[in-house]
Symmetry: C2
Subunit: 316 residues, 2 copies
């Protein structure tokens, strides 16, 4: 089970009428102490607030969606994305969230038109319940990352970035379950240096590389709501194994600093997971070769702006 | 004293190496109850957080800046813009702010490298003090809106938008002192329908149209910190008189609603003044002709994200 470059190209054609072609903004290196600029692909501005809707749209458009609609498990960006995509395409959607999911997140999924079922103590239990429910109802399951149509959809980020910035030598991508980086790897293959960035608190790719296969890890830290998958997907393990040159870890402090830089320099408010790829450059966890043209994906913005009161230096 | 189309073109060439070419994002009409999409020019992402830096860059690049540097009066976006532009070009900057300007805003101007002088009870007094100081020091004065090089610089928003979206039939622009709309009018002339939008609490253009010349008005409301000039500029009076087809007012509630829509649909956090042009479409103060391609400038984002806790419906 893998994803080919042609699958990503087909996904790009499929979702073009419904996904947003997000802009690329340039962060000036000399404003942030870097020897190079950084081209930022702003998936913060994608429908539903993260890149996840690309995979959701592709999964729904590539399949025959039954009358029972679609089903997903996630209290976070994937749940919102599936709800948004189903609504936009006129399908029913059910999203299973753990009972512990914050009311505000459940409400957002509901606002996008999905039926929300809160069940189980954690994601794993909610996911299991969603699978059993889908078996009964016949609804189409859309996995958060380990499903070929989902990975191919996420890879359309790289298709667009490749068109917008064909000059890039290095692209940094944050990793949770690995859907986004797997899609980017399927598209870029070995045409540039693809760098995986994980929070120290959620090192699924690092753990998989050390073990030689995906293994469960403990997850935590400020980006865990978006990048806190406990285990790398099998598709991601395959594609990152073949095409991801470097995998680095960043501490939570560096992620917060990247959030601050995005706001101060570009007035982009990114969630911690969305700022994680950039963080690797700012804190030096990854240093690009001299002269390289560098890009990074800012992959989500589903946070409460009011939570920014805790960050220093962000006032007007 | 006016600004010609050629002045705006020259400004665009002059500031291209230092100003940011901001992206255009499309707001889907069917998501917000409009019969058409809206192309949004995101000056929220401009250096210093608003379009104002374009005029500042052009004023500094068009003149011989003396060793005494540049001087401006403003506790808001203009002050930050002049400070940013002067720092980027290696000039000294002094910014006079009223003693009542919030400490956070003064601090932002200082962070951009300017010397901040707090003087006077209001903007008029701070402005007068800056003029007297400039007469003594020989520093170059950069007015917030009523100076040809500043207006020409602001018009480069229209140059870019014209390149990015040559199909537009209607463009909406918010008005305070009128620098931005005057620059846009000088560029677009009568090639499309230019619509001026003001908050009900700060109707400088409306008042000027009624009186036949710029007159002082009382200003207030949530956008006053950005659009609260007390009197339309003379350059703006001239150019809007010739090229602005419609001028409408919007209530503060509509501005807040536009801020919410920008966040919910695009994860763009705009200040009230930045959301004012879009507000006219959303509340129906201006209705575009059927079939028209519509654009609006989102002109600034200098707000404290934490202040968003007061807005309902913006959680994740």
């Amino acid at each position: 089970m893998t994803v080919l470059r042609a699958d990503v190209r087909r996904a790009a054609v499929r979702i073009a009428p419904v996904a947003r072609r997000t802009p690329v903004a340039v962060l000036d290196g000399d404003r942030v102490g870097l020897p190079h600029d950084v081209a930022l692909k702003l998936e913060t501005m994608q429908h539903s607030g993260s890149f996840k809707v690309r995979g959701a749209f592709n999964a729904l458009l590539a399949a025959e969606v039954p009358a029972a609609g679609v089903i997903a498990a996630s209290g976070g960006n994937h749940g919102a994305a599936v709800a948004y995509a189903a609504s936009a395409l006129g399908h029913r959607a059910e999203v299973f969230v753990p009972s512990t999911a914050p009311a505000a997140k459940q409400e957002r999924i509901r606002r996008y038109g999905a039926q929300v079922t809160a069940v189980g103590a954690d994601y794993a239990e909610a996911y299991q319940a969603s699978v059993e429910h889908a078996d009964r109802s016949g609804a189409l399951r859309v996995h958060a990352y380990d499903q070929p149509a989902v990975v191919a959809g996420q890879g359309t980020v790289a298709v667009e970035l490749g068109q917008q910035r064909p000059d890039l030598d290095v692209v940094l991508v944050a990793v949770g379950g690995g859907g986004l980086i797997a899609g980017c790897a399927a598209w870029y293959t070995d045409s540039l240096t693809l760098v995986a960035v994980e929070p120290e608190g959620a090192p699924t790719l690092q753990a998989a590389r050390l073990a030689g296969e995906p293994v469960d890890v403990e997850v935590g830290g400020i980006a865990a709501d978006a990048l806190g998958a406990r285990r790398l997907g099998t598709i991601a393990a395959d594609l990152t194994g073949r095409y991801v040159d470097e995998a680095v870890l960043v501490p939570d402090d560096a992620i917060r600093q990247a959030q601050r830089v995005l706001w101060e320099e570009l007035r982009v408010l990114a969630e911690p997971g969305g700022a994680t790829a950039l963080a690797a450059l700012l804190c030096g966890a990854y240093a690009a070769p001299a002269g390289a043209a560098v890009g990074a994906v800012v992959c989500g913005a589903n946070l409460d702006p009011a939570s920014w009161s805790v960050l220093p230096g962000t006032g007007v």
